[in-house]
Amino acid sequence: MLHSDHLLIEAFQQGDEFAYVALYNRYKGPVYAFCAKMVLDREVAQDVMQETFIRVYENRQRLLKAGSFKSWLFTIARNQCLNTLRRANRHVKFDETISGAAVPDVETPFGRLMKAEQVALVNRFLNELSPEYREVLVLREYQNLSYEEIAAVTRNTVSSVKSRLFKARRKLGQFLQPWIDPTDEDQKVDIKKYEPDSQSQSERRRVLDTPKQ
C-alpha cells in the first residue's frame, strides 16, 4: 500500500525507520538522476546522493512542513552538487563513460543518432552550461518540477527561474540546431559559430578520433 509523502514524513519524524526506507526508495532515482546531470559523473553522483540521504536522515526534525519534502530533498541535493562542483573549482570534465559513446558527427541528424550518442550530446551541452542554468534545466526537464518548485529548490524567484530557463533553452537551440537539421545550408554556416567549445569542425574531429584513454 502506497502512503503519501506527508504520512511517511510524519512517521519518519516520529522515529519510524521503515518510513525512511519507503521515502528513500521513492526518491533515490530522481535524486540520483538530478545529481548525475549536475555533476556529469555517475560515480561522483552516487557519493553526492549518499551524502544527501544521510543529511535527510540526520536533519529530519528540521523539516517543519511535511508537504514540502520534495523541495527540501532537492535543495539538499542541489547544495551537495554545488559544493562538489565548487570543490572541483571548475566545470566537471565531460565524462565519456556517462554515455559510453563519443560525440556524434554533425552530418547525422539528431533523430537518427544512436541513443547513446544523443545522450552524449546532451551531456556535452550540459557540461557547457554554468551550474545556475544547468540546475533549472535539469530540474525542469529531468525532474518535471514546476516553476514554483524550482524556485523553492534554488532559493530564487519564479521570474528568475523563468528567465534562466529561457536563456538556457536559447543556448540549447544554438548548440543543438546544427544536429537537428544538418541539411540546412544556413545552419551549416552557423555550425562553427555555435560550436560548443569554439573548436573548428576539423579540430573537433581530430579530438574525437583520438583514442580514449
Partner: protein, 158 residues
Amino acid sequence: MCSDFQSELLLNLYVDGELSSSEQGKLFAHLSTCDACRKQFNVLLAFRLATRLESFDVPPAVDEAIFARIDRLRRTPRPAPDRVSQRRFFGGQIHRRVTLRSALMAAVVLIVFGLAVRPNPVANAPTQSYHVTETVIDDGALYVIGPGLTIEVDKPKR
C-alpha cells in the same frame, strides 16, 4: 533566432505546459510563419525526448552503503537532551560552569553589598518632636509626654 521575443517566450511556456489555451492560438499562428521558432521548437522536443532515454538505476552497492552509514549513525549514542539547562533563564541559552570558589566570592560580595545598601528603618524613620511637661501633684508627679502619652508616677515614700 526569432526576433519576436514575445513569441519565443510563449514557446517556452508552451513546452512547460504553462500557456493558456487562448494564447496557444497566437503561438501556433506565429509558428506557421516563423522558421526560426519552428526549429527551436524541434530542438526543445528533441532534447526532451533525449532526456527520457537514460535510465538512472541506483546500484545496490550504493543502497547498502547508505543504510550501513545510517545504521552506524543510529548506533552512535547521542547526548541526552539537557533538560536542566532548558529550565534555566533564556531556555538554557545562558549557562556557564562556575567554580565553587568564584560562586562563594560572588555570594560574599552580594551579601556585603546588600548590607551596605540596606535601608536603616531607624535612620529613615520620620522625625517627630516630643515635649515633656512635668506636673507635680499631691501624690506624685505627672509627666505628660505629648502628644498622646501621660505617665503618672507615685510620690516616693519617705
